[in-house]
């Protein structure tokens, strides 16, 4: 087992590295493709680009309007995550610290939302957003994510708050703080670990979501990155080098964030769902 580096460990290491290389083959194919002009794409699909050309990247950035798509995705993701953290932690604090039948029923009501597939309400919600005049706007998407991700957010916060001792707030309240002050200055800072998990899981989901932004934002100029990429790839289907460059550029921001915060991201994904 985990005792020193033996010949057997070396064999295991080799096996795992071979698996990783096979696993990365699609990525290799895509990245090399992005650096090839059209003759290289046709003649040497799998070899290294020779000479490498970067012209695909500039063209893809322009054609897919990736700059504005990144801005749209950032605005929608950041706003939604902030609202989710505020609404979710406040509600969970009430649910976790109130021992009444009402708060228990409310908690169950929120839990129902975790297994309720959003497809069931998809069309009435589309109508509602349309009636509110929010189709094609940031606000429409932010409202959608604030609602759709709330059950999960409330679930994570409630579980965490239940494991905290109540004494801190008591002391603050006795000292004359209001409930909101006690929450803001005493409780919320204590929630940092679970806030990190909530932030990571919601941000990754919202950044990558495709179906609803396609419905709500298609053709509005406020499209998020996945929606722009979808339109871009469908328009330039046969221009492989260009499509590959677009995909590389579009995936790069979140991959970079992941590489920088890898420990936190992996911990968030692996710990967030213990319930």
């Amino acid at each position: 087992m985990r005792t020193g580096y033996r010949p057997r460990t070396f064999v295991r290491e080799l096996v795992m590295i071979v698996v990783a290389i096979a696993f990365l083959f699609p990525v290799y194919a895509l990245v090399t493709l992005a650096f090839k002009d059209s003759t290289q794409v046709a003649n040497k699909p799998l070899s290294l680009p020779d000479p490498p050309s970067v012209s695909n990247f500039g063209e893809a950035w322009q054609s897919a309007s990736l700059g504005s798509a990144l801005l749209n995705s950032t605005v929608i993701t950041v706003s939604s995550v902030v609202i989710l953290i505020v609404l979710g932690s406040l509600a969970a604090y009430f649910l976790a610290r109130t021992a009444s039948r009402l708060s228990y029923s409310l908690y169950i009501l929120f839990l129902v939302g975790i297994i309720l597939p959003f497809q069931l309400g998809m069309i009435p919600l589309y109508q509602l957003v349309n009636d509110l005049g929010l189709l094609g706007t940031y606000q429409g998407m932010i409202l959608f994510y604030s609602g759709i991700q709330l059950p999960f957010t409330v679930f994570l916060y409630t579980g965490f708050i239940r494991s905290l001792p109540a004494d801190y707030t008591n002391a603050a309240l006795i000292d004359g703080a209001s409930h909101l002050q006690a929450f803001g200055y005493v409780i919320f800072p204590l929630l940092r670990p679970i806030t990190g998990t909530v932030l990571i899981l919601n941000a990754v989901f919202i950044w990558n979501d495709f179906f609803t932004p396609l419905l709500y934002l298609g053709g509005s100029g406020h499209e998020t990155v996945p929606v722009r990429v979808f339109a871009f790839v469908n328009e330039y289907t046969s221009n492989y080098g260009l499509v590959a460059a677009g995909l590389v550029l579009a995936a790069l921001p979140i991959l970079l964030v992941f590489l920088i915060l890898q420990r936190y991201v992996i911990r968030g994904f692996s710990s967030g769902l213990k319930g």
Partner: protein
């Protein structure tokens, strides 16, 4: 609060706690409840209601048609095929993704030097949009004999295995499933890893002293203690499989023919391509009942497995 002294049991405890100022006021939950009701509860109830109407989605004209939409659903070849595809994809994804995830976790949960780098490699696709992963694999599955996977097979001497991966109706569904598995196996891996880290090393050591081999130790120590991780992984991949949509739309759009349509793609097309909103919500209701039923059965079964293990 003058009744507090007279009250008994739970009520008294509650009142005292309130008076002690512990319980936060109800308005802490109000904003979340309003947004949740507006975005999830109201639409879900309205959706379930319109599953029994002939609503076209234009205007408000709709009349009650009883179970007509459901009768149509169970006599519609596309919908039945979609139901079958959804179940097939779900089973394939749950079994293979978690199987691979477990093997990867066991592989990197060792003293090998590259273990941290390997975790990052296998997990990285999880954070990328499924749309982009689908387009990546759409290129890998390029039908041309000298591109993508076909070119790679040729290069390693397996040219006879070259296929039209997404164009062959019996192969396409596997190709789609494999794309999902490639993207999500790392997710299963990190959840299994968290479970493996909770297995006490002493158990393995004492079992080794007793002469237990690798397989025996896995079966009698690791596997039972991984039960909570199995529960989480199976539930996550099941719901993911049952509601699969993006990868299908990006790679095959349900084709060739209806070979890769799922409940989600059918309900989407019925609503936004054919304008049959009533019928579409009936499909959505069937999907919702499926997800709820499977979740409850799984929670019950997998949890009992955790406690008896």
């Amino acid at each position: 609060m003058t009744t507090v002294t007279a009250a008994v049991g739970r009520g008294a405890a509650k009142a005292t706690r309130r008076r002690g100022g512990i319980a936060p006021p109800w308005y802490f939950a109000a904003p979340a409840l309003i947004v949740y009701a507006l975005v999830m509860l109201y639409p879900a109830i309205a959706g379930a209601g319109s599953a029994f109407t002939d609503w076209s989605g234009v205007g408000d004209q709709r009349s009650f048609v009883g179970l007509e939409n459901f009768k149509q659903l169970f006599s519609d070849d596309q919908a039945i095929g979609a139901l079958r595809n959804t179940l097939f994809l779900t089973v394939a994804i749950v079994v293979v993704q978690n199987g691979i995830g477990l093997l990867l976790a066991l592989g990197v949960h060792t003293t090998i030097k590259s273990r941290m780098a390997l975790r990052v490699v296998f997990f990285a696709p999880v954070v990328v949009s499924p749309v982009m992963v689908s387009f990546l694999w759409k290129y890998v599955y390029n039908p041309a004999p000298d591109a993508g996977l076909n070119a790679a097979l040729n290069a390693i001497g397996l040219g006879s295995l070259r296929q039209d991966w997404l164009g062959n109706p019996s192969l396409a569904i596997w190709s789609v499933a494999f794309t999902v598995i490639w993207q999500c196996a790392g997710y299963s891996m990190v959840i299994f890893l968290a479970g493996l880290e909770g297995v006490p090393q002493e158990l393995h050591e004492s079992a080794m002293v007793d002469g237990a081999g690798t397989v025996a130790r896995f079966r009698h120590i690791t596997w039972p203690l991984l039960a909570p991780a199995v529960t989480i992984n199976v539930m996550l991949s099941t719901v993911g499989g049952l509601t699969l949509f993006t990868q299908i739309i990006a790679m095959t759009n349900g084709g060739p023919g209806y070979a890769t349509d799922t409940l989600s793609t059918v309900l989407y097309k019925q609503a936004f391509v054919y304008g049959k909103f009533g019928y579409s919500t009936a499909v959505a209701l069937v999907l919702a009942i499926f997800v709820a039923a499977v979740s409850f059965i799984q929670i019950g079964y997998l949890r009992s497995r955790e406690t008896t293990a």
